[in-house]
């Protein structure tokens, strides 16, 4: 971490996006996390994705729980409101926020302790309800803020810094998100910006529950030999199946990925999600197939990354509830209060 404040001035030649803003307009406060923390790369990816998509930086609701990951909403999109809530409860708070105003981009940042342990129930149910949001888990397999206890995503046999093995089976949040009906599920690695940023962009443009499990190593407590959540382990065992690229309306379609089969998916706003399948046997529209593929690879010690599943047409929670187009928080008394006249019939029904 650094104690040097960010300068307010910016380089005069920084490129501007479609709405005339530079990347600096999407940044947040200086991170207080450890130097080299994977979470800072995730925040940087969110900044880059939002800037490249030219989204208005004040039209976000950033919500988190408690833990290192949950500090990060301070470090991106400082023009937006943020809410650092209670441990494991980001999903319910962001559900309320989304119900109140469907027009804001909801970004929830959580950690593996936050989502796989104390908030496991809320994680499961926000996925089921298909809240229209980007749900990012900064997954480092450890409780950093309380100094290195195992979390529930830690792999069986993976060791602590002192060499003690983890005795319990891991919870795979991506598999659970798939099982519970998330309409966009991805896994990535904080050390692979080239994969992560396009996934973030696609997730932000996706309408519905977009879940990204980002393996984000903890340099202080879980980046040693013996850990399966270290930079080293991910570089050797990460296996990318589908790369995503988000292509806006006017953008030239270019690709510098290794060749493989390509599929374009039209997003609700008319833009394109281009998928590069790196394993031709993998079908990112097959929920059950995806689940079994991930589980099998996990048994082999491999970490499947990339865009694991997408259904661009699935209904989000507002469509399920059939709410009005206008955000609920903009409805006025005229819209909401039936008035005294309506009470005549209501009172009569109680006589």
């Amino acid at each position: 971490m650094t104690f040097v404040a960010k300068p307010k001035t910016r380089h005069p030649h920084l490129p501007v996006n479609e709405i005339g803003l530079t990347r600096r307009d999407y940044e947040g406060a200086v991170s207080t996390l450890c130097a080299g923390c994977g979470h800072d790369s995730v925040s940087a990816a969110i900044v880059q994705a939002c800037a490249e998509l030219s989204l208005p930086p004040h039209r976000f609701a950033k919500v988190s729980g408690i833990g290192c990951s949950s500090k990060t909403p301070s470090y991106f999109l400082s023009k937006s409101h943020g809410f650092n809530s209670v441990h494991g409860r980001m999903p319910s708070v962001i559900t309320g926020a989304n119900l109140a105003n469907k027009d804001l981009h909801c970004v929830g940042v959580s950690g593996d302790g936050d989502s796989a342990s104390i908030g496991m129930g809320q994680f499961a149910h926000v996925v089921r309800r298909r809240i229209n949001m980007l749900y990012v888990v900064d997954n480092n397999g450890t409780y950093g803020l309380t100094k290195g206890q195992f979390s529930a995503t830690n792999d069986l046999g993976s060791t602590s810094k002192k060499g003690v093995p983890n005795l319990y089976a891991p919870i795979d949040l991506a598999s659970i998100a798939l099982q519970l009906g998330a309409s966009f599920v991805a896994r990535s690695f904080s050390g692979d910006k080239r994969q992560l940023v396009p996934l973030m962009k696609a997730a932000l443009k996706h309408k519905g529950m977009a879940f990204i499990d980002v393996i984000s190593p903890c340099v202080a407590f879980n980046n040693h030999q013996g850990s399966t959540k270290s930079y080293e382990y991910l570089r050797h065992h990460g296996q990318n199946v589908v790369n995503a690229d988000y292509i806006g309306d006017h953008e030239e379609i270019t690709a510098d990925y290794a060749p493989g089969s390509v599929e374009d998916v039209t997003m609700p706003d008319g833009s394109t999600l281009r998928m590069y399948k790196l394993d031709s046997a993998y079908d990112p529209h097959d929920r059950v197939g995806a689940l079994s593929y991930i589980q099998r690879k996990q048994q082999e010690g491999e970490v499947v990354t990339g865009l694991l599943y997408v259904d661009p047409d699935a209904a989000d929670c507002h469509e399920i509830l059939d709410t009005v187009e206008q955000p609920l928080n903009e409805l006025t008394e005229q819209d909401l209060c039936p008035g005294n006249a309506a009470l005549t019939a209501i009172n009569a029904s109680f006589r």
Binding site: P56, P57, H58, R59, F60, A61, V63, P73, S74, S78, K79, S80, H81, G82, F83, N84, S85, V86, R89, P91, S92, V93, I94, T95, G96, A97, N98, L99, A100, N101, D103, L104, G121, Q122, A124, H125, R129, H318, L321, D322, T323, V324, E325, L328, N329, L331, E333, D335, L336, C337, P338, G339, N340, A342, L343, I346, N347, F350, R351
Partner: protein, 608 residues
């Protein structure tokens, strides 16, 4: 024997799940439609089918709505509870039972009147379907009671017609079952009894509904757009009422879409989290729960207190601790609600006493939550929430505007030189807030449960933390000026009685019972917390004040002493907490005993 009109307690003993609720409800409604004041109490088990359940109707021309001890008429339809049901009848009272099987000799009492009706036998010849025979038992005793008590028969048949509108095939057999009962009463029993009903005009334009229904409707009128809840007796029907009526009152005419969102959450933690998230983002939102849910919500309540977010929580209290008696009433969450959560927290409370007040407080709570930027907890209870209570009609002043509190829009932010979320600009302890997405450059801030300075920046600076905590106390003082005033009646008595919520129901009767004993008391019905000046004055102006409440530990009394350092000897605790609602007899007896023990002066000699 002189005939007594419109003054008795009738209790129905049934097996739950046997369809008795509808017949018993019709009985109460029929009397209500004859203009007679009635109060209903459903004493039911935490069970769906097969366990004993009782339904009690207090019929009172004087308009006494509280519970009264003793049963004048027992309709004993449950063999399992027959022993206790027979024993509960007051001497001179009536036992109505199905004498298709004779009453055991051991159960017979010389001091009550037995009214045997061979219900099962009568129905055997009339209905072939055994299920119908079983269901119509209830309707048949209703018909017999119509004869015995002189209930206007057309009123009941009218209700049958309304109830089965659209299922017309059911109307005729129901009416036939009613006639079987009534005709038997006329032919074989000395109907009508000397205890009976007659049309009255003491109800005016009153309506009859349960408090939860009124709370749901009030939340619609008050502008709630988000409701998140988790099923728990006795609060479930608040959310159900909101949804039921919102599906009629909150539908966009052009599109048929909903102007509200309701989520049945996975637990109470999520329910309050959704409410807080919605309120943070500017939607009026509420949840309803009971004691165990309040315990689960406590962490979030502390967050909302400290982060200063509006939230409305209905706690329909039941008997605790733990699971306690989920289907019995109490007022035992006063302290848990007032101080819910860790650290220095306290929350404004509202105490409705009737359905109209549930309706009014539902809307008021949403205003107060926005104005005070803090959770507001409305403490109702099972007695009010789940029983049909008489009430003044619901009213809404069309001139009234929602108080959305201090929220800055984009224009206001542009006009402002400095924005500090937690700056006390107006000196009332309440800062100005902004909603997410309001302005491209101004007004954005981070909401957190950690300490922060006036500009919402995280800090662990001791002075900044303490300044903030003291501002929250200043806000608390502002709250005391906004909470509804207590209802006080003062006639210069040296003693007073203080109560809240449904303890108000038996109070007029208790006071009337005490008057002939030379005991007169000034009254104070507390309607909210923090306590207003008028409550403090009331206590200061009396030598002693009885605090009557429905919990073991005298929680309201403790709250008063804790907040205002009253001399504990001055506040005399009267508590009833057995799970039924507190009765007028109990209050009268407790106060009279205290007078006796302390040899307190009375206005007149005790009448013999």
């Amino acid at each position: 024997m002189d005939t007594i009109y419109n003054d008795f307690v009738i209790r129905f003993a049934n097996v739950n799940g046997s369809g008795s609720a509808s017949a018993n409800g019709m009985f109460a409604k029929a009397l209500f439609r004859m203009g007679i004041p009635v109060a209903t109490r459903n004493i039911f088990p935490s069970n769906i089918q097969g366990l004993p359940t009782w339904f009690e109707v207090r019929v009172s021309e004087q308009g006494y709505l509280g519970r009264r001890e003793g049963v004048d008429i027992m309709v004993a339809m449950n063999a399992e509870t027959l022993v206790e049901d027979v024993a509960s009848v007051k001497p001179g009272g009536y036992l109505v039972y199905d004498n298709s099987k004779p009453l055991a000799k051991t159960l017979r009492r010389d001091d009550i009147n037995e009214i045997g009706i061979p219900i099962a036998t009568l129905l055997l010849t009339e209905f072939t379907d055994p299920k119908q025979r079983s269901l119509f038992k209830n309707i048949t005793y209703l018909g017999a009671l119509a004869g015995l008590l002189n209930i206007e028969f057309e009123v009941i048949t009218g209700m049958v017609a309304t109830q089965y509108k659209g299922k017309d095939a059911l109307i005729a057999p129901n009416i036939h079952a009613l006639e079987i009962g009534r005709d038997y009463a006329y032919q074989y029993l000395s109907a009508p009894l000397p205890l009976q009903v007659r049309r009255s005009n003491s109800l005016g334009d009153k309506i009859m509904l349960d408090g939860n229904m009124a709370a749901g409707l009030g939340s619609i009128y008050g502008g709630a757009t988000v409701c998140a809840w988790y099923p728990i007796t006795p609060s479930t029907s608040v959310a159900e009422a909101f949804e039921q009526h919102a599906n009629k009152l909150r539908i966009d005419k052009a599109t048929g879409q909903k102007k509200f969102a309701i989520i049945q959450a996975e637990d109470e933690l999520a329910a309050i989290g959704i409410v807080i998230g919605a309120a943070w983002n500017g939607a009026r939102s509420f949840t309803a729960t009971s004691g165990p849910g309040v315990s689960l919500m406590s962490e979030f309540l502390g967050l909302a207190y400290f982060a200063e977010l509006p939230a409305v929580l209905w706690d329909i209290q039941r008997a605790g601790p733990s699971t306690g008696m989920p289907t019995r009433t109490q007022q035992s969450d006063v302290l848990a609600a007032a101080y819910a959560s860790h650290g220095d927290t306290k929350h404004p409370l509202l105490f409705p006493a009737d359905p109209k007040e549930c309706f009014d407080f539902a809307a008021l709570a949403l205003d107060l939550a926005d104005r005070l930027q803090t959770p507001i907890i409305v403490l109702s209870d099972l007695e009010l929430g789940m029983n049909d209570n008489l009430s003044d009609p619901l009213e809404w002043d069309d001139e009234r505007r929602y108080d959305r509190g201090k929220v800055l829009d984009a224009q206001a932010l542009d006009d402002l030189e400095v924005f500090g979320r937690y700056l006390d600009v107006d000196g009332d302890g309440i800062g100005y807030r902004t909603l997410p997405g309001t302005h491209p450059d101004k007004g954005g801030f981070f909401t957190r449960g950690t300490s922060r300075d006036e500009f919402a920046a995280y800090t662990e600076n001791p002075e900044a933390y303490q300044r903030n905590m003291e501002r929250l106390l200043k806000k608390w003082q502002t709250a005391a000026t906004l909470i509804p005033r207590a209802e006080i009646s003062q006639n210069g008595c040296n003693g007073g009685v203080l109560y809240f919520g449904t303890t108000a129901l038996p109070m007029p009767e208790a006071l009337d019972l005490l008057a002939p004993e030379g005991i007169q008391l000034d009254t104070c019905r507390v309607r909210g917390f923090p306590f207003g000046e008028e409550v403090v004055n009331f206590i200061n102006e009396h030598e002693f004040v009885f605090v009557v409440e429905q919990n073991r530990d005298g929680q309201m009394r403790k709250l008063l002493i804790n907040e205002h350092d009253f001399d504990p000897h001055k506040l005399v605790s009267i508590t009833y907490y057995a799970g039924l609602s507190i009765s007028a007899d109990f209050i009268q007896q407790s106060i009279a005993d205290y007078y006796q023990q302390h040899k307190l002066a009375r206005l007149t000699e005790v009448q013999s």
